[in-house]
Amino acid sequence: MIRALPLLPLALLAGCGGQPTDVRQTGPDPQLPAQHQTLVPPMKIARPEAWGDARPTVPAGFQITALATDLKVPRQMLVLPNGDLLVAEGKGGHAPKLRPKDVIAGYIKSLGTTSVKGGDRITLLRDADGDGRPEVRTTFIDKLDAPYGLALIGNELFVAEQGALTRFAYTPGATRIATPGWQVTKLPSRINHHWTKSLAASADGTKLYVGIGSNSNVGERGLEVEEDRAVVWEVDRATGAHRAIATGIRNPTALAIDPATNALWSVVNERDELGARLVPDYLTQVRDGAFYGWPYSYWGRNVDPRVHPQRPDMVARALVPDYALGSHVAALGLSFASNGGIAPQYGEGAFVGEHGSWNRQDLAGYKVTWVPFARGRPAGQPRDFVTGFIGPDGKARGRPVGVLFDPRRKALYVADDLSNTVWRVTPAATTAAAERPRPRG
């Protein structure tokens, strides 16, 4: 509920109290109910609350500790060859408020996020003895512009800021890079409604893939500002030249290479305000030349009536994504298991970080799930892996963003941009006497 807000009576107008008898919206073939546009979109914001002595829930046989707290809006992470963990911190976007809705909805959504200002930096965490308590914590790179995606190729560190892909020279063992970066290519940054620039390096290290989100929910800022948006770019590492390998991919918030097949995968956030059970966010292999429908259609050829002029020719081209994650879960993190995974039952598959919903009355997301794979394809329903981000009082303790599996440590890191924490999940046996985390919100 939008409790304690003056907009409470609007919930009636939204006609949103009742939920449909639940529909299966995960897996390769989600059920897609009829579109349901309401006068006021159902908004439910889980208000933040400190963790206190609580901590996220992990399956039996695992433990979770806070590797670092008091970060400044941690998003995506990268493990360096020596085991150091980099954490990109920041908050971007400079979309002007064009109409009253932007003012009101922006305010309501801000109630569910941290009040901490984005760090615009990368923090390094070194836990050389692997006890879950970093011995070294430094500001690795400073004065960035909303850094998000990170990738390392050889000794070149690539950082996807909200307006540029930047390369830094990395010296193994370094705890700080003071030398300015070199701009590989500018990235589309006008308006930056969806500002996050996700990043992955190809398996052979010659290409970088950059996920660039749309500049609107469904074209309500005009389609001319959507040029070079809702795409995945392939950037040549040597020249900085780029081409769009996938289009109509609304907001590809995390990219990752499946180590088993070297294929590029992405988690993608789909559109809002068509109903509580539309449209499922998805996990998909990013196929060269694919068009995923946005804004004209979703999940293949389901036409979105809000886009004018309509484009039946584009709808006809729209590809069905591989695997639905559920509507409004806001998947922001993706990391594949490798080297046997965190435990035998998690040997092949991917972890997905779900930031959590605002556009439905029953909260969705706010957890890390595991999508099992077999022979390079998703196989079976997702399983909850880290939960408990919503407390028994319905308030949010944390919101998962990036997830990162470290195959050498057999650890899963989870960036939480609400409590500004990086969580570390490990098999219970490997580390004795886990510290109780005390993150501050």
């Binding site: 006068l39 979109p41 009253p100 809705k101 309500e220 886009v307 002029p309």
Partner: protein, 140 residues
Amino acid sequence: MALDAAAPVRLHPLHALLLAFPVGFFPAALAADITYLNSAEMQWSNFASWAITGALIVGAPALAWSVLRALPGKARGRWIVPLLLAVAWAAGLLNAFGHSRDAWSSVGTTGLLLSVVSTVAILAAGWLAFAAPVRGGLAR
């Protein structure tokens, strides 16, 4: 100010000013809506959205004032103006929510119809309020 009970009494100048805003804004929203539907150019829908919001914000005290003005009276038809204002305002509120939807759904047929209702009602209310003042009593 007229003290003759039979003399026409004009609206209080502030009341008139408040009323002038929705009288201007609702037709402006209608014109913007029509232009949006003809052009699919989002900015016209945004203009309409702000115009409707302005009409609601300034129209609310104008509506309240007209109700307070009608309450003590006895004249037949004294409720016509408040009623027309209420219709324009209620249609405008629905339309403001409608205009908060994205892209084509921000206007569409429903938005156009609501803008027409608001425009007709506010023009009629304005006409009557300015032209046929309540008889008897000071401006208020």
